[in-house]
Symmetry: C2
Subunit: 373 residues, 2 copies
């Protein structure tokens, strides 16, 4: 090994997850313009899709003036509330026996989605809190069905501060469900909630036209860079860079196998790289034998195919055509030219699931990029 070679050596072990909060703010601001004059609100449930609800909600609050936040569970609200003194935090799963104390303590706003929960609410109603009512318009998930709305009294109906529904197919512009749900919601609002503000759209609905925005839009996936309008080029910027160091480079002889259950066999001599990342870091195991890793060479990206099964801590890829690769160099799993949407397509799932899985893992060196103000 020459002296020169030795100087270039770098041995690294840890995968790196970079989250560009500047771009997240840009995305949020563009979405605000698209939905204006509707009020923006931020969906930070599931730890802000794994990105970190504390960090995300704080910068949206401080730098973008966001004052409305949505989480799924009251304990998610508890994690962010101290940094958001003037904000309203809505809890989508609502209030029950197992989280009522958090509502009492912090005054979160529960979303009431069933007669049973409404009954529980009335027995335990908290002073100064007007809950949200969730009405079902076609997704057939949570929300009051019309036969249940009919049973509510005039007084019941006036207890709510906001009426919400949720779209089933808003990522397909011309899907019949969009018009169907919009009309269904309008009819319900006219009949039961004429004077109450409304929210129907999440970030996919934001691109369907102003008529879907009502008084408030719940901005989530698009803010995090996901293309929620896949029928056209993404208007959002990618905020995620995921990379892992090469732990080892090796040759594979014709006939040799790779990985668990020997699912890849070399038909010709190959060069392989073993990266320090696996499904234990949230990478979908369904990328086995189909995923891609990218290596920077000068200013180009060179593509390497995943070989064999993705394992818990490692993946193996074919770097036969990647020149000048060294141990300690980074292979990129997600970046501007191969985004969450791309990796999700290759993993046969949706970007939301990939993002939700990756961010929660502790083995990353997690870097948040944020310019000084």
């Amino acid at each position: 090994m020459s002296f020169f070679k030795r100087l270039n050596e770098h041995v690294l072990t840890q995968p790196v997850l970079e989250i560009d909060l500047n771009r997240l703010l840009e995305n949020y601001e563009l979405l605000c313009r698209i939905i204006s004059p509707a009020i923006p609100s931020a969906v930070v449930k599931d730890d802000a899709y794994g990105i970190g609800a504390g960090v995300v909600s704080k910068i949206l609050y401080e730098r973008a003036g966001c004052r409305h936040f949505w989480v799924a569970h009251a304990l998610e609200a508890e994690k962010i509330v101290s940094d958001l003194p003037e904000a309203t935090i809505y809890v989508l799963q609502g209030m029950g026996e197992d989280n009522i104390e958090l509502f009492k303590k912090y005054h979160f706003i529960p979303v009431i989605s069933s007669p049973e929960m409404f009954d529980f609410w009335k027995r335990n109603a908290l002073k100064d809190i007007k809950p949200v009512i969730h009405v079902e318009t076609g997704l057939n998930r949570l929300g009051f069905r019309e036969n249940e709305l009919k049973k509510l009294s005039r007084k019941d109906l006036q207890m709510f501060s906001l009426v919400m529904s949720h779209l089933a197919c808003a990522d397909e512009k011309d899907h019949f469900m969009n018009t169907y749900q919009l009309e269904h919601f309008r009819a319900i609002k006219e009949k039961y909630f004429k004077d109450i503000p409304a929210t129907v759209s999440a970030s996919d609905g934001a691109f369907l036209g102003k008529e879907f925005s009502f008084d408030m839009v719940r901005l989530g996936a698009a803010m995090y860079g996901i293309n929620t309008a896949p029928y056209r080029e993404n208007q959002m910027r990618n905020i995620i860079t995921l990379k892992a160091p090469v732990l080892q480079i090796a040759n594979l002889n014709k006939g040799e196998f790779v990985g668990y259950s020997a699912t890849y066999r070399a038909n010709t001599k190959r060069k392989i790289a073993i990266l320090s990342i696996g499904y234990g870091d949230g990478l979908p195991r369904s990328l086995s034998n189909v995923g891609k890793v990218f290596f920077k060479s000068s200013e180009r990206w060179l593509e390497a195919r995943v070989l064999g099964r993705v394992s818990m801590d490692n993946l193996i890829c074919d770097v036969t055509n990647v020149d000048d690769l060294n141990v300690g160099d980074f292979g990129y799993l997600i970046m501007d030219d191969y985004t969450l949407d791309d990796i999700a397509r290759d993993a046969e799932t949706i970007s939301y699931e990939v993002l939700s899985r990756i961010g929660k893992n502790m083995r990353y060196l997690k870097k948040y990029l944020l310019n000084a103000r």
Copy 2:
């Protein structure tokens, strides 16, 4: 609503993850007997496959006398070291520029898997630490290849305290790779590491026969209840119960759709339940339209099929045949009669990935069952 009905009402919002540490200890002890006289060691990487590395390593240390632990990353070792004063902690990804400080501080044992890492080790060798050498025998993942071993000096070879390799197909008893790797390893050991203790098997290898156990076995998946010998009945006990409360029960009319992208349509009138759990809680989204939920009725389990897509916070299932179901009742996603292995098969992945994803989520009420001593 009758008074009696009201008394039975219970509104809950939070999914529950129960981990039976008593059974984990039983599994560990059975595995110890199977591999005896080889020394047992515990694989607690990836936060003990999501179960909680701190909790798992502490009880194995205190109650089962385990003194050897394996993690993938030095920062995982850092999280457990304070509770394991007399233990040896091996770090599979080894030592690099990004974690050398942790090795200096805590005296973890790095696994050296490449010439480059060995070179780095020699330049930075830490007093009183004898590393592990990883040799490659057929998996074609990490480890010295034979042409690289040849270049090591006699002095180099004596620096190691343990030689390890890893099996590719040990969950298939008669797979040709098992014999191939065993013979390959024996030849390498004979030639280079005659007097150094060896470890080749993880928990799947434990069931292949004593000749695979050498001096130490690395017990992971089987200890956590996974059947690593799927060619026969599981000898391990399930340690995971995952359940989520029913948030709402509703009727579905003929022709109605369920969930995102309207992938399920009711051909006949159905009754559905919406549960408070989704892929944001680590449940594989690939269970969409194929997964199962179980409800307890008297002493029987009633099975309900997942309808439509699993979403981030919720899933919907068909409870047409589940009588006496109420809001707040629990649907079971994993339990003794539908284990990690079963859900993984339905999700078209492996139990390891399912377990690794579920445990890391913060929205569960996480209960560890452990008897007083």
